[in-house]
Symmetry: C2
Subunit: 134 residues, 2 copies
Amino acid sequence: MPEKLKIPEGYRQTKQRKAILDVLENAEIPITAEDIYLKLKEKCIDISLSTIYRNLEMLCKEGLVVKSYVMNEDKARFALPDKKNYLICEKCGKIVIIDNCPFDKFKEELKEVHGFDITGHSVEVYGICPDCRS
Amino acid sequence: MPEKLKIPEGYRQTKQRKAILDVLENAEIPITAEDIYLKLKEKCIDISLSTIYRNLEMLCKEGLVVKSYVMNEDKARFALPDKKNYLICEKCGKIVIIDNCPFDKFKEELKEVHGFDITGHSVEVYGICPDCRS
DNA sequence: TTGATTTTGCAAATGATTTGCATTTGAAAA
DNA sequence: TTTTCAAATGCAAATCATTTGCAAAATCAA
């Protein structure tokens, strides 16, 4: 049961904003701006693409959403932070979320070696999914 | 001493192709198509951007080059596979290559859990570099 | 309810990347 | 070496995701 995300302090509660956040909360995998547009259109919520992009930008800046790119795709994908690490099948494009990303263990080591304070990371793993292998 | 990369079998040896590969071999970090264009212009090698993009696409398909995106940047970066994992400073944008990516150890686990045959991965880590912290 | 301010929608602008096509070039064959 | 032809290039135009300007609509505090 995912706790409902709140629109960050200082921003107004618009129905578009809430609708976008709602789509992101219910998405299984990272989705594109257009995916959001279409999903909302299905629910008869009319919203302009620029509004979607503007909100996505705001949500990323506030850290509620993470933007990423998939190889050979020409558009950005957006997801809540817990869905930012994923496997992509090179054949069919299927995306599977990696839970419990082991990368966290590596943060300390990175800090020691490079002196960076790590604030976040994004992992994309490519492979062939079971369905495509057979 | 990096061994000179060879243009893949089945493709012609053009001077543009060799020049692009040469720039990539000498790059410390992932670079953009335009970086390549400018670097070659410095060396008085005139080449069109479309040729660069076409070759980059080919090199990616052949696995000699890896494409990636950096958050808040609007263009793709390209690098040899050994430079595909990196740290990015959120303040100054500095990029530092991660050698010996620990992710390899995780491949087996991913295969077991999700059934994917892993073919590659890309890791971007964000943080604040030592210079920007102080 | 009002008013100041934020958001939105629309259409136009942007900018990286792609594509069509005529011309040039590499390399296999003669 | 010369010939031959598919592959590669350069240029300009086309694409297409994303951004931006601006007037109208919506939010929310007073």
